[in-house]
């Protein structure tokens, strides 16, 4: 066991107290007041503690310990190093907002009892923490599976609904396919020593083909968890099915454990990745980013839209990982550090932005009971808190300065600007084009977010029932406020964040980015480039200009404001149903990216008495990849079923044959 005053001990104690807080919910499982008003705020407090401990341990020495729990000769090893610290801070920091929101969120009569839900929720958090601390394959896999299972139960909280059950099944299936790949990857990494501690894996040297196989298996396993193409199909099903705080945890935090795993295996356990490996996550990441954002643009369900947007962000993250591997492999470590910082920064940003947006949809869902964008609208009047705080998240994820989404995007684009210096022919010409794809995805993200915010919160209510919508409760507001504040702070203080993330890149590739050097308010990727971005100055200029303009207009042209009905273009019977729908807003995207979709359309004829318009957009991957595989599995299962004849004499024959075979083998 570690000494009592060490950060590692503090982390473990905090994780254990998460589990305890969860277990305490079983004392009074049906009491909303106890679980909601006591346990979830406690969980938020623990999250805050975890973030503080992780941040203060960032610059400290690497700590390791062996836990007494586990199988007799397989104790669990844990280790706290800068990479774990960064992700623990992400977990703690983002979970504060989500837990605060969740305290006010869960209501009676919605599926699983609140106490049981609280147990699953806190176990989910604790297992994610353990994934980040694990220092051997056994502990890692146990934590990884606990994470998958607890989140499975959370996804299927409303198990009365068949769609949610099938989404949960798909999620569980993909989670296990991924877990098998990760397990196999660890199996290769131990390199014949049969020691499964990460230290042994760091020490073992693999031949190139084996190392490549380990990398590809890890990419498959962690990619399935993160949702990269073509393993993304579960994500837009499972994330929206869960209650909103759980969706926030899954999209905001759980996906980042996959990024953590990828970084851990590639840069720490394998050690020296080959440069061309990077091209695979790079290409997959770029494809995933565009695919995700294009699908997000045509969604009509607000939570599915956000889930596809998570697919896009995962694509961006994998793009950054790919770039880092390429740069590191050819020995350009300063640039690799820049790419890695962009990845870590974006992971942190996405945790805050996406949690904020999912919680915003949760508040809307509770206030209106609607997830369909076509039945929402005008909610900024009824729910000003949720509306304006969600706007912060929307602007951040659309990549607008001076908020946080822009900083990581800026870093990634700056890294791409150097990619033509990679000393490999052809590759150095293709890599800069990746920047164009990232730019396209970022610009499309702006489109998606305007659609998301504009249709939910702006315009007129599309249904009369929306007039009764109420704003979020006090704890829910606090949760949203925490995450929005995180988005702003991460945006305007990039140097402080990068300095913290630099400790992790130093650990992984031995170099910290040189960017955070010059002054505390100005960000520069590499000193010799004389390029900089100063969000605080930019913010001050914009706010200053707005203030001066506003005052000038107010005092010089003091004219009254008169309300009037909107202009109807001479057609006097405009009603809220004539506003653009979610389908309508997605129409240009369907038109431009037509080859991405499988579309079924029912168009009314002009003479129809009761015209009906329907368009269903589905993923081509279902038909092309998953349906054939499912059919194959079904056929294989059917042929195995032939064994089951239902007569005892046949089964006795099987036993007899088995015995004979065993005897023959033994003798």
């Amino acid at each position: 066991m570690p000494p009592v005053d060490s950060p590692l001990a503090a982390c473990l104690a905090l994780l254990a107290s998460w589990a305890l807080v969860g277990a305490a919910g079983l004392l009074r499982p049906a009491s909303i007041a106890f679980v909601g008003r006591v346990l979830f705020p406690l969980g938020a407090l623990i999250g805050l503690g975890l973030a503080i401990v992780a941040l203060s341990a960032l610059g400290g020495p690497v700590e390791r310990a062996t836990l007494v729990v586990g199988l007799p000769d397989l104790p669990m090893h844990v280790r706290l190093d800068p990479l774990s610290c960064v992700f623990l801070a992400l977990l703690g920091g983002a979970s504060v907002g989500v837990s605060l929101f969740a305290s006010g969120y869960f209501r009676k009569g919605e599926g699983t009892a609140p106490g049981v839900m609280g147990l699953q929720y806190h176990l989910f958090l604790a297992s994610m923490g353990l994934v980040l601390l694990a220092d051997d394959a056994y502990a890692f896999m146990v934590a990884w599976e606990t994470m998958a299972l607890s989140s499975y139960f959370l996804v299927t909280a409303q198990h009365g609904i068949p769609e949610i059950r099938s989404a949960g099944f798909l999620y569980l299936l993909m989670a296990h396919l991924g877990a098998i790949a990760i397990l196999l990857s660890f199996g290769i990494l131990q390199g014949g020593t049969w020691l499964f501690s990460f230290d042994a894996m760091r020490a073992s040297t693999l031949s190139t083909p084996w190392a490549t196989a380990a990398f590809l298996l890890a990419l498959l396993g962690f990619g399935a968890k993160a949702g990269i193409l073509p393993l993304h199909v579960w994500l837009p099903e499972a994330h929206p099915a869960a209650p909103s705080p759980v969706s926030a945890l899954m999209s905001g935090i759980m996906l980042k454990t996959a990024i953590y795993g990828m970084l851990r295996v590639t840069f720490d356990l394998i050690g020296e990745p080959l440069w061309w490996w990077g091209l695979i996550p790079l290409a997959l990441g770029l494809a995933t980013a565009v695919f995700g954002v294009v699908f997000a643009a045509v969604q009509t369900d607000m939570k599915r839209l956000l889930a596809y947007s998570s697919v896009e962000n995962i694509g961006v993250l994998f793009t950054g990982i790919g770039l880092a591997i390429v740069f590191h492999g050819v020995g350009m470590n300063e640039l690799a550090a820049l790419a890695l910082v962009a990845v870590l920064y974006h992971a942190l940003n996405h945790a805050f932005m996406k949690s904020l947006l999912f919680l915003g949809t949760g508040a809307v869902l509770h206030a209106t009971g609607e997830r369909n964008l076509g039945r929402l609208g005008g909610l900024i009047h009824r729910m000003p808190w949720v509306g304006w705080l969600t706007l912060v998240g929307v602007l951040a994820i659309a990549g607008l300065p001076p908020l946080n989404g822009f900083v990581s995007e800026w870093l990634l684009l700056q890294t791409f600007l150097f990619s033509h210096e990679v000393p490999k022919p052809f590759v150095n010409m293709l890599l800069p084009l990746g920047a164009a794809v990232v730019a396209l995805a970022a610009a499309l993200a702006g489109y998606v977010m305007v659609k998301f915010f504009g249709i939910i919160f702006l315009g007129q209510p599309r249904e009369p029932s929306l007039g009764q919508a109420h704003d979020a409760g006090r704890l829910e507001k606090a949760g949203l406020l925490w995450l929005a504040a995180g988005c702003v702070l991460l945006g305007v203080l990039p140097n402080q964040v990068i300095a913290a993330l630099g400790t992790a890149t130093t650990q992984l590739i031995g170099v910290a980015p040189a960017s955070a050097g010059r002054s505390w308010w100005m960000l520069a990727p590499l000193p010799e480039r004389a390029v900089s971005y100063a969000p605080l100055v930019l913010l001050a200029v914009i706010v200053g200009v707005i203030a001066v303009t506003f005052l000038a207009v107010r005092f010089v042209y003091r004219r009254p404001v008169r309300p009037a009905p909107p202009w109807d273009c001479g057609f006097a019977r405009l009603d809220p149903r004539m506003q653009d729908t979610a389908e309508g807003f997605g129409q240009p995207i369907r038109h431009i990216f037509v080859s991405f979709f499988r579309m079924e359309r029912e168009l009314p004829s002009p003479l129809d008495a009761a015209p009906h318009y329907r368009v269903v957009v589905t993923d081509r991957f279902w038909q092309a990849l998953y349906v054939p595989i499912a059919a194959l599995v079904q056929r294989a299962a059917n042929s195995v079923a032939w064994l089951q004849q239902g007569r005892i004499s046949v089964y006795l024959t099987y036993s007899f044959i088995t015995l004979v075979v065993l005897l023959a083998v033994m003798l």
Binding site: Y447, M522, R529, P565, L574
Partner: protein, 316 residues
């Protein structure tokens, strides 16, 4: 930072604010002459803005605070953009605040707020305009970034004043890559500023509008700010074009008062020429259908990518 640098900064922002409507008036006048019409007064945009400021504002009953906030944000973003574009001098004190990528971000802020404001009232045309504007935006933004990339590969920086400075001091060499990107930039400029062939600034037919459709609900001072911001955007784009493709004449670095004095007529000459060129382009081309706009923008993007490849192949 010297006094001259701060003075240049101040003068540049002031010039942008003051000259932007005049530039718009100049383009309109040139277009009228080319089309054998009598030109309106060059000062017409000023009169329009002044008249709007003196009117009572009419705001739709369903408007949220976002609607009244948006003109100020859009205007603020455009002024901030003007502060980092080296139209007269490159030794700007604010140049470390935002590089060219952040500049693209500033334009994106304006676009997003304008679109959100258009959706706020909840009329069909506002939303229609918003989605078309965002469509043009997401096609133009990558193209603009690629253009900036080519210039920054040549000059090894993404800070616009430094790009301009390094391109200006190099010997007068012909960059084939910059020629391709100049074509791409012209196309992006037309699309982003709602000019023919993508949008028609003079249209009053709602179904074909993009920019104007978003402003349908604005009146008085809010409309004045929006129109002024639109003029500023055109001015800013023109100045980005000068900084990238005709950087000569601007005062470089800490060059002093004399260079600044030279840069003012240089800017005026460039603007005058750009106005004629824009008017000519708009006169000889026809407005595209909305769904041909993606092809137009894809062409611009391809030109920019071609520029990039040419640069990587030839190193020039």
């Amino acid at each position: 930072m010297s006094t001259v640098a701060w003075f240049t900064q101040f003068l540049e922002v002031l010039a942008a604010l003051a000259l932007a409507p005049l530039f718009l008036g100049w383009v309109n006048a040139c277009r009228a002459w080319l089309q054998n019409r009598r030109a309106p007064s060059l000062l017409l945009p000023y009169h329009g803005i002044r008249k709007l400021f003196h009117k009572d504002a009419v705001i739709a009953t369903d408007a949220s605070p976002l609607f009244r906030m948006a003109p100020y944000v859009v205007f603020g973003a455009m002024v901030a953009a003007a502060a980092v574009i080296p139209s007269m001098g490159t030794g700007l004190p604010f140049r470390s605040a935002a590089d060219a990528i952040a500049l693209v971000g500033l334009f994106a802020i304006a676009r997003v707020f304008m679109s959100l404001a258009a959706m706020d009232i909840g009329t069909a045309f506002g939303t229609l305009g918003a989605r078309r504007e965002m469509m043009v935006g997401f096609l133009a933004e990558p193209a603009l970034l690629m253009i900036i990339f080519v210039a920054s590969l040549i000059s090894a920086t993404t800070a616009l004043p430094l790009i301009s400075e390094r391109l200006a001091v190099q010997a007068l060499a012909l960059y084939p890559s910059l020629a391709f990107t100049a074509v791409a930039f012209t196309m992006v400029l037309l699309a982003e500023n709602a000019r023919i062939p993508v949008d028609n600034p003079a249209t009053h037919l709602e179904l074909t509008m993009i920019h104007e459709a978003m402003l349908l609900e604005y009146s008085a001072r809010h409309l004045a700010l929006m129109e002024w911001a639109a003029a500023l955007k055109l001015f800013n784009y023109a100045c980005i074009g000068f900084a990238l493709f005709v950087p000569w004449g601007a005062s470089l670095g800490e060059a002093g008062v004399l260079a600044l004095a030279v840069s003012i007529p240089a800017l005026a000459a460039k603007l005058a020429f750009a106005g004629v060129w824009l008017a000519l382009l708009e006169t000889v081309s026809a407005k595209l259908r909305v769904f041909r706009a993606p092809e137009f923008m894809a062409t611009a993007f391809m030109f920019a990518v071609l520029g990039l490849l040419v640069h990587l192949l030839l190193g020039a």
